[in-house]
């Protein structure tokens, strides 16, 4: 059994209520922190833990915190990113819904560490029911003296509130989130200045993912060193994975980083193998933005190493033969799934979600969607495949925020590994419209094994 740090108590009846959470050791980390630790001690523990941002980019949290500017007399803010809109990712919702006080406890610890007295949870508009759960939990925390003025007599004040977005993926990008929270249109800002220097209302701001903030609770409870013992290399601790697609047991799993992909997909403890005895065809291991892996690169890397659930191992081989851990949205495709259709579906999402600020993303995402739609429906040409490749190349790296890259990468990876399937749609137009089936490129595989 893997060690669980976040979801350990999730199955306890009533754990979403304050009393049950408290009875099971809840808020002990806050007691420890406010009574025995200084803010810098907490930052130090988080650094030692090796915790990396769970929102997608995997940036070391302790380092991010130490970058926070601390000008005299200027308030600082901690924002929790609960916008969770990446297709295939639903772990934050699970955590907030099942064990909301864990997030609140993490918010108190992190706010204390950063010297923030007013913190916000920014939640996607579609999670209205989760917002209600959080509001209830926050009210309980206020009522029991964990929020408000002079918490535990420590002199530390903290106000915490939840603000819903209006349902925009882009508002999960940290600077768009800040704009939205300020009441503006959710357009990403240009960086620099970075939020750590000028964020919410031009004040120094840290934005962290729900899971990142929740992980601070076990780090404070057990110490950073203990946390860092779990995992491999620079991938420490546990990670929530949202598993979906053609598997027997879809759901949210807390894994120890370093678990093999093979075990994650096939063991009963996790995904339980491919549904209906089918073969696996592909896997998107980190949410819709990361490159798709063909079947022969999922459990083994191109170098024939075991592929592990770590930031490094999933990225092994770069974009040519690897992918990314991303936000941990693990999507599995069986042999019946159509990659062209899936790529079109993702493209449609990015087209719909582009904020429209910069030309390559605003125009390019729509163009890719249209070309993919044509291909998927058997109306495309061979030139369309090269055109797609060119469009994604003209978007990638040339935009204000990473949404442009996120739209380009899935298209690039699909063509890189499944070009034959795109071609099949051109040469078999009638079947393409009827069947949801394709071929797999073994080219990369052959090259590696030559």
């Amino acid at each position: 059994m893997t060690k669980k740090l976040l979801l350990e108590n999730v199955h306890i009846e009533g754990i979403n209520s304050y009393d049950v959470y408290r009875k099971n050791g809840g808020y002990s980390a806050v007691e420890k922190a406010l009574k025995k630790m200084s803010p810098d001690d907490i930052v130090e523990e988080v650094k030692k833990s090796g915790l990396r941002g769970r929102g997608g980019a995997g940036f070391p949290t302790g380092m991010k915190w130490s970058f926070l500017a601390k000008p005299e007399g200027v308030p600082r803010h901690l924002l929790c990113n609960a916008d969770e809109s990446e297709p295939g990712t639903f772990k934050d919702r699970y955590l907030m819904e099942k064990i909301p006080h864990l997030l609140i406890e993490g918010m108190i610890l992190s706010s204390f560490a950063l010297g923030a007295n007013q913190s916000y949870i920014y939640i996607r508009g579609e999670y209205m029911f989760v917002l209600r759960i959080l509001e209830k939990a926050i009210a309980e925390a206020y009522a029991n003296g964990w929020l408000g003025k002079n918490i535990l007599g420590s002199g530390f004040d903290l106000d915490l509130s939840v603000t819903p977005g209006a349902g925009a993926y882009i508002c999960g990008e940290e600077t768009a989130l800040i704009e939205s929270l300020e009441g503006n249109r959710g357009n990403p800002r240009m960086k620099p200045p970075f939020p750590a220097v000028q964020g919410l209302w031009q004040r120094p701001t840290v934005v962290n993912n729900v899971e990142t903030i929740a992980a601070v609770v076990p780090i404070v409870n057990n110490g950073g060193d203990e946390y860092a013992k779990i995992g491999i290399g620079r991938s420490t601790g546990t990670k929530l994975i949202s598993a979906s697609g053609n598997i027997n047991n879809p759901g949210v799993y807390e894994i120890e980083l370093g678990l093999s992909v093979e075990e994650f997909i096939y063991s009963e403890e996790y995904c339980g193998g491919i549904k209906n005895g089918k073969k696996i065809k592909a896997c998107v291991p980190g949410g819709s933005s990361v490159p798709i892996l063909p079947h022969f690169l999922i459990t083994k890397t191109a170098e024939s190493n075991d592929r592990l659930m770590t930031y490094e191992s999933l990225a092994e081989g770069g974009f040519a033969t690897g992918s990314m851990l991303g936000s941990g949205g693990f999507i599995v495709y069986d042999e019946d799934q159509c990659i062209v259709r899936n790529t079109w579906n993702f493209s449609r999402f990015y087209h719909h979600e582009s904020c429209g600020q910069c030309s390559p993303c605003r125009e390019g995402t729509g163009w890719m969607e249209k070309v993919l739609h044509r291909l998927e429906n058997g109306r495309g040409t061979m030139e369309d495949i090269d055109l797609l490749w060119d469009i994604q190349g003209n978007i990638e790296g040339n935009t204000i925020c990473p949404l442009g890259d996120a739209a380009a990468w899935p298209v690039a990876a699909a063509i890189r590994h499944f070009r034959e399937e795109f071609e099949w749609h051109v040469t078999n137009p009638n079947e393409a419209t009827k069947r949801n089936y394709g071929l797999i490129s073994e080219k990369v595989f052959e090259k590696v094994n030559a």
Partner: protein
């Protein structure tokens, strides 16, 4: 001398200049001048927050600085990247830049109507110039183009959203020059549009300036619409006594009549002194203006190919120096 601020040395396409710290790559390039200057469709120096959006000004930073010579991995928006001492930049001399810029032009044009023959902006349109210099001659976009209805925003301004490139300049102008915030962007992605919150009339005293900042024919002057092709009009520097603005403008004449009034733009199409609505829309009588003389159009454009006074070619002075 020692009290002078330490200047930063930057090299763009092989040409070196010293600039104040805090200068952007684009402005450093403009100080050098000539064809090393990247095109800029959204940046506008007098509008706070502008820039970064169109991505036409992307350049390659081949050397970060003297201290940290590593090249920057991504192409950078020159309008919003500040220089470092010893920075080396490639604009037209970089293949990556040329390719990316061609891509950006293609993106900007793919949903554009290209109805230049009936567009008031034709002849002084930055998108025309951009496409001419950096674009491809054929489009690869085969789908229906986006279309919007034309709307009147206020008494004097027509918004033809179909031609808009979403540079946001008019939004910043409306926010920064006028007191009410009634002008903004609605919707998102390629459905985004400039809106005035249910066609609120923009009757602010300075709102006419949105016409001048618009790089394309999306915002046009209703008192001039379809009156004449710009190249049949003759621009004259003119001034008047105005209690609202500097009164320094350009009047565009057809014969002895003033066809339209605009603010004075520099060679990058930027207005340094905005004018009020009264000067722009209501003073169409030559008696109301003190005509100073022909306006020199510095921009290289379709417009300067005609009968405007051009600047004396620089090479004569260069020859003298040599």
């Amino acid at each position: 001398m020692s009290e002078e601020i330490q200047k930063f040395k930057v090299t763009i396409d092989g040409k070196t200049i010293e600039v104040e710290p805090g200068t952007t790559i684009l402005n450093a390039a403009r100080q050098i001048g000539g064809d090393i200057v990247p095109p800029a469709m959204c940046y506008y120096s007098s509008l706070k927050g502008s820039g970064g959006k169109c991505r036409t000004c992307l350049v390659e930073v081949s050397k970060g600085s003297e201290k940290d010579p590593r090249p920057m991995p991504k192409l950078m928006a020159s309008c919003s990247t500040t220089v470092m001492d010893g920075m080396e930049i490639k604009n037209k001399s970089s293949e990556r830049v040329v390719k990316a810029r061609g891509g950006v032009v293609e993106f900007l044009l793919m949903n554009h109507p290209l109805d230049c023959p009936i567009c008031d902006q034709a002849g002084e349109c930055h998108l025309q110039d951009l496409a001419y210099e950096h674009g491809h001659s054929k489009t690869r976009y085969e789908f229906n183009r986006r279309e919007f209805d034309k709307i009147d925003i206020g008494e004097y301004i027509k918004l033809h959203m179909t031609r808009c490139i979403l540079c946001y300049r008019c939004v910043y102008t409306a926010n920064q020059l006028t007191e009410k915030r009634e002008h903004g962007v609605l919707k998102r992605g390629d459905a985004a549009e400039i809106g005035t919150f249910i066609e609120n009339s923009l009757d602010n005293e300075f709102i006419g300036n949105v016409i001048d900042v618009c790089p394309v024919g999306a915002l046009t002057d209703k008192t001039f619409r379809f009156k004449s092709r710009v190249w049949y009009t003759k621009p004259m520097d003119a001034s008047c006594n105005c209690d609202k603005c500097s009164g320094k403008a350009v009047v565009w004449m057809i014969g002895d009549e003033i066809a339209r009034v605009t603010a004075r733009k520099d060679e990058y199409g930027e207005v340094k002194e905005f004018i009020c609505n009264d000067c722009r829309f209501n003073k169409k009588d030559t008696n109301q203006w003190n005509i100073e003389g022909p306006r020199k159009i510095k921009r290289h454009s379709v417009i300067s190919a005609n009968h405007y006074e051009k600047e004396t070619p620089k090479h004569t002075t260069l020859l003298n120096k040599a």
